[in-house]
């Protein structure tokens, strides 16, 4: 038994030495920037149940890099290293560790969802690498327990804002007094939006008649929707992700629940229309970061460029925010005049009035941008710009 035991320790020892050997000899990548390129690591959901977001962000970012790298920043080009976290939080952590220690990136970009971004925050803070999330909207990403995560920034607005905008829209424009809330129990994003909505809606004098939850990846919502129907709501707030939202909207209409339904930017994916069908989506609304139908010149220029590169597809909010993040980063690097992560972090903090597709960006003291939100309505499966709300 002891012999066996020693042989096991031998094996352990052997394999560690082996790995240490590999580690020492193959320090990949070298420094964060070897004069010609600035390495940026993107820890995104490229597969898994919110793959649509990660891929959209990557597309937008790549489109921006086409222009940025034409001249480069002081002669240096941005090199994007993409990594897939499979829409899973533990993977997001491991991927971030790999990007920072193996690929030695100067800046981390990602993820699309709040949960997966939260999994990276500690890695960024511990390694003193700036982390910019294009679309994670949960406030805890930048400020947790009253403490600022000073290396973390975001390009989008935060959940409390979205939820409030939706509540005011429901009360003022749709004139409803009784609302039901249905959230994705596995998403920090959905929970954040719902609680903000509830607070604001109650302030307008409205009443929440029903609060239900579902599990991600579920396919049958008839029972829960029937329960909601029984409470006679005039409006349903559904701040989830497109895969379940599509099914929920479809099944809601199937059981005769035809009241207006509203959600947030999590709805924004071409797959939503495919799953729900255009008919079911009539009389639904979302708050979003931007709209491709907004007549603003800067937005239309971006739309044209995007369509040219990506087969005439119209860019969604995730594309736009990916694009904006690249420009945010490029602007910061230029002002920092260096590729040192510390200097980039300082330059990011000082970003003021930067003109981006999704609005004019200035960071507040919590590293959150002060920006406006758009409200869109679905008509025959297409997003139609309804109104813009400023903070």
């Amino acid at each position: 038994m002891k012999k066996k035991f020693s042989s096991i320790t031998l094996t352990l020892l052997f394999s560690t030495v082996l790995m240490a050997g590999c580690g020492a000899s193959s320090t990949t990548g070298g420094s964060a920037s070897n004069g010609k390129t600035i390495k940026v690591g993107a820890d995104l959901e490229l597969s898994g149940n919110v793959a649509s977001y990660g891929q959209s962000i990557a597309e937008g970012f790549a489109l921006a890099l086409d222009d940025i790298n034409k001249k480069g920043i002081d002669g240096k080009k941005i090199e994007l290293i993409k990594a897939d976290n499979k829409s899973d939080a533990a993977e997001a952590t491991s991927t971030a560790i790999k990007l920072v220690s193996q690929d030695k990136v100067a800046v981390l970009v990602g993820s699309a969802t709040s949960t997966n971004t939260l999994a990276q925050v500690q890695v960024a803070q511990d390694n003193k690498i700036p982390l910019i999330t294009p679309t994670a909207t949960n406030p805890e990403v930048t400020v947790k327990g009253g403490k600022l995560n000073d290396y973390v920034f975001r390009t989008c607005f935060i959940d409390p804002f979205q939820g409030t905008v939706a509540a005011n829209f429901a009360a003022d424009q749709l004139k409803v007094k009784k609302a039901a809330i249905l959230i994705d129990s596995s998403s920090d994003y959905a929970k954040g939006l719902a609680s903000a909505f509830e607070k604001s809606f109650k302030k307008t004098g409205g009443k929440i008649v029903s609060k239900e939850a579902y599990v991600a990846k579920d396919t049958d919502f008839h029972a829960t929707l029937t329960r909601i129907k029984g409470e006679n709501p005039q409006f349903i707030y559904l701040p989830g992700y497109y895969e379940e939202v599509g099914l929920i909207v479809k099944q809601a209409r199937e059981i005769g629940l035809n009241v207006p339904i509203m959600g947030g930017d999590g709805w924004d994916s071409p797959k939503l229309v495919k799953i729900a069908g255009p008919k079911a989506l009539n009389n639904t609304y979302i708050t979003n970061h931007y709209s491709s139908g907004d007549p603003d010149q800067k937005i239309q220029k971006f739309v044209k460029k995007f369509k040219a590169k990506y087969n005439g597809d119209s860019p969604d909010a995730f594309n736009a925010l990916g694009y904006d993040t690249a420009y945010l980063l490029a602007d910061a690097i230029k002002r920092a005049g260096s590729t040192d992560p510390e200097k980039i972090k300082k330059a990011l903090e000082d970003t003021k009035n930067l003109e981006l597709v999704s609005g004019t960006l200035t960071f507040d003291k919590d590293h959150n941008p002060i920006k406006s939100a758009s409200i869109l309505e679905y008509k025959d499966g297409k997003q139609v710009f309804k109104t813009k709300v400023n903070p």
Binding site: T226, R227, E254
Partner: protein
């Protein structure tokens, strides 16, 4: 009112479980194997149906028949390649192989086409909301229930009125004796797998139409629940599987109806544990003592 609506929801869900449970129970009755891969045959059926509707523009029945045919062949293939060589091995070995086959089909599918879900077009079956006494029933649910019942009746016919069915019943009773009587045990087992898999394929197409979204990992949870349904009705007993499936669907809907929708999947497993502890032979099964 709401209760009746939930009941309707439950029966629609349950008929899909019933179709799957039938395959499990038939296979277990004849080779005493829990075919973990059954849920994945269901998934393959859903995808075959999807591609026949979108790429080849089949209508409902041809798509259904094609899915059933392909799944039948697929099921026999699995049996021949992975299960037949292990017929005399220990149960653990067979179970591990079944798990391996299941994982292989799932991740093989992901490898070939990616993990992204697909959405069944909504015009395969007419979609109309029918209102009866304040209960809104979707015409799709009715058609699904109807199709499931027809398939189950066809199965009963095969099992009790044809030679193949007689052979199946004989082999599940006593394989050695059946062999002595001149029945080809191998062929009978293959036929069982074929029929069970065809039903799974049909369930897949039906699921796709009713729930729209299909993805490569969709078969895992319905597969496990269908197994619970089969045990609920008495494993190896065909009418038991049907009843078990419907009952499980209703139980799930009621759990959701009472507000515990996050526990829905757990309900099936809790039912399973209770069954195994208190009545392992299921609703219609007979208690068989283990002989030394």
């Amino acid at each position: 009112m709401e209760f009746v609506q939930q009941l309707v929801n439950g029966i629609s869900l349950g008929s899909i479980y019933a179709l799957l449970a039938l395959g499990y129970t038939m296979v277990y009755g004849i080779v005493k194997l829990i075919n973990f891969a059954h849920g994945d045959v269901f998934m393959v059926g859903a995808f075959i149906g999807f591609y026949s509707v979108t790429v080849f523009h089949f209508s409902f029945f041809p798509a259904l028949l094609l899915a059933m045919a392909v799944c039948a062949v697929f099921g026999v293939l699995i049996e021949r390649i992975a299960y037949k060589p292990l017929r005399n091995a220990t149960r653990i070995a067979a179970l591990i192989t079944a798990i391996g086959v299941s994982l292989f089909i799932e991740y093989g599918t992901i490898y070939l086409r990616g993990a992204q879900p697909e959405a069944y077009p909504s015009n395969v079956l007419p979609e109309k909301n029918i209102n009866i006494f304040g209960v809104t029933i979707n015409s799709q649910s009715l058609l699904i229930l109807f199709t499931s019942i027809v398939l189950m009746i066809v199965l009963q016919f095969i099992v009790h009125r044809t030679k193949v069915g007689k052979a199946m019943r004989a082999v599940s009773y006593d394989a050695e004796a059946a062999r002595l009587m001149g029945i080809s045990v191998d062929r009978t087992i293959s036929a069982t797998f074929a029929i069970g898999s065809a039903l799974a394929g049909a369930a897949g197409v039906i699921f796709g139409i009713y729930y729209t979204k299909i993805d490569p990992l969709m078969g895992i949870i319905p597969g496990l629940k269908a197994f619970v349904a089969a045990v609920l009705g008495g494993i190896g007993i065909i009418p038991g599987a049907m009843v078990g499936g419907l009952l499980l669907g209703v139980i799930e809907s009621l759990v959701s109806a009472m507000g515990f929708s996050l526990w829905r999947d757990g309900a099936a497993f809790i039912v399973l544990i209770l069954l195994l502890i208190f009545r392992p032979s299921g609703l219609f099964g007979k208690n068989v003592r283990e002989k030394v």
